[in-house]
């Protein structure tokens, strides 16, 4: 049986001026799978994510989503198609509460236009109520129900990460791109994060692409791993295969810590 493909990346290359950040990368994210891209810092992992989410277009190559070419589309259009992402250095909105932050993911679905806000039509109130309720569900799912009305940027780092994840989930995506979700978290926060990702993966049947340079996060979650080094793919395989691959071990020995 042919497994349906969520995202197919075909030979993408990205040059920044003279610097080749990604060199001919190809990869495949099957529906309802979790794949990982690992590599040392500067290996081009985040660039791949940026290419998929539309931050900039590839210099060459294509990104296909459900068979359609999405390379070069604007990030908001890609989001509407069903792909959501988080950022490595957390990008929250100043002066917005957790609830308001998550609600922004519903803005594009608004059923009212700007003139109608003046008339305070029931349509406006209805949409606002719905967004609020849906957003609260995502906030509860990531375990931040008590912080819903707190200014998001005032929360501790681990919670801010979860706000980002809630905001991404509020796009009700089919594909979730996680950019170094473990960055800046301490050991117990990482274990919580892994559990959270596992839970949303199973409950929501998402297809997830995960990037990190920490082995423990990747090994526990991913079914297939791509290894990058200096923009080039140097290996791919299951976690067991990657762990034993001499090329990977030679290029990059990651840290391993176990969660009890």
């Amino acid at each position: 049986m042919v497994k349906p493909v969520a995202i197919e990346i075909k030979n993408i290359t990205k040059m920044f001026g003279g610097l080749c950040a990604v060199n001919d990368f190809s990869g495949c994210l099957f529906e309802n799978h979790i794949i990982g891209i690992i590599g040392p810092n500067g290996a081009g992992k985040t660039t791949i994510l940026n290419l998929v989410s539309g931050i900039y277009p590839p210099t060459s190559g294509e990104v296909l989503y459900q068979g359609k070419n999405i390379s070069g589309l604007e990030p908001d259009k890609i989001n509407h198609l069903g792909i959501a992402r988080t950022f490595q250095n957390i990008r929250l909105f100043q002066d917005l509460t957790v609830l308001e932050t998550v609600m922004t993911a519903y803005s594009w679905r608004a059923s009212y236009n700007v003139l109608e806000t003046l008339l305070s039509l029931p349509r406006v109130a209805r949409f606002e109520k719905e967004s609020r309720e849906k957003s609260m569900r995502w906030i509860e799912k990531v375990g931040l129900a008590e912080q819903a009305n707190v200014i998001a940027q005032s929360l501790p780092y681990g919670m801010q990460r979860r706000v980002e994840i809630a905001r991404a989930l509020a796009s009700e995506p089919r594909v979730l791109l996680l950019d170094e979700p473990g960055a800046g978290l301490n050991q117990s926060e990482i274990c919580d994060l892994v559990d959270l990702v596992q839970m949303i993966y199973e409950e929501l049947s998402l297809s997830i692409m995960l990037i990190d340079h920490r082995m423990d996060v990747i090994m526990r979650l991913c079914q297939w791993i791509y290894v990058q080094d200096f923009g080039k793919s140097i290996a791919q395989g299951t976690p067991e295969q990657i762990q034993k691959d001499p090329i990977v071990i030679k290029a990059y020995l990651g840290e391993e810590v176990s969660c009890a």
Partner: protein, 288 residues
Amino acid sequence: MAFYLTVSLAIAVNSIAVLGTFMLTGMNGLFSLGQAAFMGLGAYISAICVVKYGFPLPLAILTSIGITIVLAILVGFATLKIRQDFFALATFGFGQAVIGVLTESINVTGGAMGFSNIPEYTTPLFAFISLAVAIAFVWGFRRSHFGRDSLAIRSNELAAKVAGINVFKHKMIVFLISAVFSAYAGALLAFHTQYVEPAMYGWMASVTWIIIVFFGGRDSLTGTVIGALVLLALPEALRFTAAWRILLYCVTILLIINIRPRGLFGTWELSINPLLRLFKPKKQQEAK
């Protein structure tokens, strides 16, 4: 009495323009130095329509707003994708360009000598109602998704895009609304002062509005409205000349930004919730 009414009218109408700047520059962080040019367009076009072509007032105002929207769309397409500091420069250039055109078209506009003999159509009631409507609109805007999106875009445009917000479309909508507010205020003022000249609509007027917004606090609608009333009324009360008035604004905002950058009112907002709670029927309160 008539004097106070006249002054209040001018303050109310100018506040409408300030509200436009509150939305554009305060909420969205778009630093436009050319908004006053839209006020000039609103003033001149509606005045010319009435004086030279005999339009009835509503049609004249609608015409000026219509032309303003078209021009604002063009300017928006040309400038809204540019980086923030360059946007300020580009809008400044636009403002200068408009003043240049107004000054050059002597046959139509009277050039630098100004355009006079405009009938006095603006009544205090009309002005106050307009202001009330403008405030209601901005208040509704802030509470809606537009309000959240504005703060999101102002704070982190990339994250806003990734969350699905069409940033350019949002900025364009805000830019148009702000232009319309300015144009409408310009028209109202023209039919009040009965005289307009290009120099009234330069970058300094735009900066004055920005100063007023940041004085009250760019995150507080109440602050901006009260700040506008105070800063527009004070020079009148103290009988300042134009130059001293501007000096007052400059010194005030320098003090505010250095000492209390979030503005006099910070993020405080006048809330009618406590008032509403008094009027809620008993059973709703018990159900809570």
